[in-house]
Symmetry: C2
Subunit: 607 residues, 2 copies
Amino acid sequence: MKRGEVWWVNVDFEPLGRRLRVGRGVSILTAAQQAGVGLVSICGGKGTCSRCKVRVLEGQLSPLSETEGKKLSPDEVARGYRLACQAEVLSDLKLHIPPQSLTAAQRTQVEGRELTVPIVPVVVGRDVRLPPPTREDIRSDLDRMRHHLAETLGLSDLIVDFALLRQLPTRLREEVWAGTVGLRGQEVVSFGPLGRELLGLAVDVGTTKLAGYLVELETGRTLAAAGAMNPQIAYGEDVMARIAYAMEGGEQAVALREAVVGAVNDLARDLCTQSDHLPEEIVEAVVVGNTAMHHLFLGLPVRQLGLAPYLAAVSEALDLKAREVGLEIAPGGYVHLLPNIAGFVGADHVAMILSTEISEAEGTVLGLDIGTNTEVVLRANGRLIACSTASGPAFEGAHIRDGMRAAEGAIERLRIADSGVEYQTISDAPPVGLCGSGVLDAVAQLRQWGVVDERGNMGDHPGVRRTDHGPEFVLVAAGEEGSGREIVITRGDVGEIQLAKGAIRAGINILLDEAVLSEQAIDQVVIAGAFGTYIDVSSAIAIGMFPPLPLDRFNQVGNAAGMGAKLALVSGEQRAKAAEIARQVEYIELTNDKRFVDEFAKAMYLK
Amino acid sequence: MKRGEVWWVNVDFEPLGRRLRVGRGVSILTAAQQAGVGLVSICGGKGTCSRCKVRVLEGQLSPLSETEGKKLSPDEVARGYRLACQAEVLSDLKLHIPPQSLTAAQRTQVEGRELTVPIVPVVVGRDVRLPPPTREDIRSDLDRMRHHLAETLGLSDLIVDFALLRQLPTRLREEVWAGTVGLRGQEVVSFGPLGRELLGLAVDVGTTKLAGYLVELETGRTLAAAGAMNPQIAYGEDVMARIAYAMEGGEQAVALREAVVGAVNDLARDLCTQSDHLPEEIVEAVVVGNTAMHHLFLGLPVRQLGLAPYLAAVSEALDLKAREVGLEIAPGGYVHLLPNIAGFVGADHVAMILSTEISEAEGTVLGLDIGTNTEVVLRANGRLIACSTASGPAFEGAHIRDGMRAAEGAIERLRIADSGVEYQTISDAPPVGLCGSGVLDAVAQLRQWGVVDERGNMGDHPGVRRTDHGPEFVLVAAGEEGSGREIVITRGDVGEIQLAKGAIRAGINILLDEAVLSEQAIDQVVIAGAFGTYIDVSSAIAIGMFPPLPLDRFNQVGNAAGMGAKLALVSGEQRAKAAEIARQVEYIELTNDKRFVDEFAKAMYLK
């Protein structure tokens, strides 16, 4: 070996922002494992599962292996994709890890990535140093503050939030007449020690999960990201069950509201603890959610949302005092709610369209936010058309015999090989059940191996056994790899997936029909939402959930609704854009649509 | 008697609005007694006490009696004053009863009198009839409302109060898409059944008492008036004691706030019950009080108000959501707080100046609002100068041995005749003590009869007896006229009155000095406040509390602060005027003023 030869190289894993020094010649997969970057690897590095795809942004690797030549499409190769288990590091390297190649535990970290839009802060900080009162200068505290802001910053006609006013005399004296005020338009909403950063909170209130982000308002920097369960689950699994519960009476509606507001407050406290801040430093919040979550969070009635013609109480964007809805942030802080589109297409969908820029796309773009309700939007010929389909909770692991949420031990990736069933679990824990992406893979694999037919019926196969409850396929035998129990997929489970994917595909088809376009006209499919991020797109195509398009037209963007909330948090322009999106969207109510029954029936087939 | 001769005549008692048909020739006093109008009459109709003065507005009476010739000044005669016990009714009659001629129980009724300013409503009602939703028209409830208001009334960019929004979906359906909205500028603050009147609440929060008025906002008509005690009394008798209590900690401050807010809510409920309305029909409230009451009501800190240089947290007028301060009115209703002038001259004084129109007076006018703190204002040469003096609680009956509040059995009028002590009690009940006006009369009479000297010392007199605690004068012997106990006035009581009246007179003198005017330059003295209404002005002059001016320059106007609150309730113009008054007033802080000690010492003499 020559003098000066490079033994050690740096590998940057983006967008995680993780960097590691490794010896030349190790595989990317090994480097990732050392760096604590959880790459999906079902086959354990044999190169057969091809789930560990990464994209090279800068640097040199070993030449493309034969395996890679088979597993990667020419287009993928052209765009710099490699299999992490095959490619060896030869120089300093900068890699992009697609979210679908990350294990579930790590994918949420990606959500913390920095924003790329110009920051147009809704609340700005201004330092003030007031002349202290004297016997000759006995102006009220408020007068003193207002005159000072008028004189030094030219800000007249300001108002000071009332809850802040209740604290101001005490705070002004504690800070000896100097501090930073938060200005929101004409209103002073906060007062804190000199030079303190103003923080913002963005929250996506999902039916099942909450995602929260703590952000520096004037830089857009994300300080912390965290998720939590929506505790309303105790009152009903899906939106309709919650609405029904709220309709039982005032107390029930209050319980739902308090549950979710409490969870958001807990989340805000967690985020602050993580980043060494206090909730009262948060001066602005943005909350998005589907229309029902939006209404329940605000304490708006939902009865009219649960009965035809399914009306929102409010669809426009709202700016409310956070304290009015029970959010425990700075006393004068506001919460902004992005607009809803209709009873079943809410602010979260607006946020998704905003952050994915679908509304500004040139070509034909299909957007999907997959959940218990799946919102579908089509951008085509300058129009934005949207609908909502009741895809049900199967993808959350519900109504599936061995289904579970995406938690430790859930099988999240699965393939049937000649040798048997290969799978990967979250956190590599012993398998305890199937989360949504695992169920989807399982059905796709069973279909691919001919174990189930187009109608979802299970044929004869060594893995299939007949029970009193119908046929089922054993994926994991009891005791196998530390599993305490058998994990199967039943005919009923397949049926649940057929219903779910049928609803989604029917929605897609009706939007295409509305735009008079064929599937092949779709230039890009944007898949948002936690589940959408985790699924194997080829499995989804295999069962007919998505149109059969080249894989590189699919873009799994993670929690786009949460990202949209962050954009709206740091930019007034983005709020205006969101309002424009809500105005522009043409909503199609599928329950009224004559095409729906036919399309749904057709889309249930597994082809 | 000739045919057609009038036997029966109508007597109108204004401003009570009471009318009675009486036989010709009866005295006004008799007519008043029959009509249930409580005229003061210490001498029992002998014409010696001259307290039953009334003013004739229209109609004919018997000629002036010899007694009246002696007891009324030529100016009073010229202005139509008569003694009710002397004058006999000869024709239909319209009388004005000055508040000081009314017994205490009835004076509060006067407060209900109608307003004379143009109504410029802050909230206006508009009837709406919305198109109900259909499968084709699935706009949100809020959109539906806003579009309708824009189309039918040309009102765009409206906002709907959030608390109202929470009720709107339910209320719209209950009222089958038709109702009356309350509009406050750009905001919808209420929704009720079609055609419902919008109500307003005006409250004067005094240190001791609250006075409340329920008013129709669009007509200005007073529907009900009522008083109540300020329950904060349990935490301290005067303003300083309350501030000290609030300074003990957060809990104490909250207790004070909740006490007074609860009392205002109770008062609002009472007023509504009286007039067959509901508190949620009240869409706007105006609250006035001194600066400490204002701050404690709003939950603003008072520490800075209790320590030199005695700063208000807020002096400008505030428009707050009533729910933010805990007022239980319409969910979207506002409460307007008139501006404060300084730490010890509050919104109640602004309201008093507003309703008495002192700020617009041509000549030199002195205004007094007598209470535990007495606010004094001088209008002279285009200036408005004000100060506050700590007159103490003696006029509320406190710190006086046999003192009591103005309640049943309190001696409210007293004179010493050759035959002994004559007095009148509230509700003509057996005497149980002396209220403020009774104490004032007693000291004036003792001084007039030479029982006490200039310094307040009691000389030798058959009524004076010496005790271990000093000399005292027996006003009512035990057992006399049903009294269960003796009622005396002590040397100490005289001293309390000296302190109180000394403070007030010192304030008056300093304002005159500031304006470089003599007492005689005062064209009018306006005396506001409950106590100020009840006192005998000549007694107040006799002890040197007021400058020795002709009686007809004094004008006792009752609860002028409450009246000012009513004006501000029904008129945006009046609010603007109040703000202008607060800006215009030059405040003199007496605790800083070099003249005060001398003036106070001089003013304590009883001359």
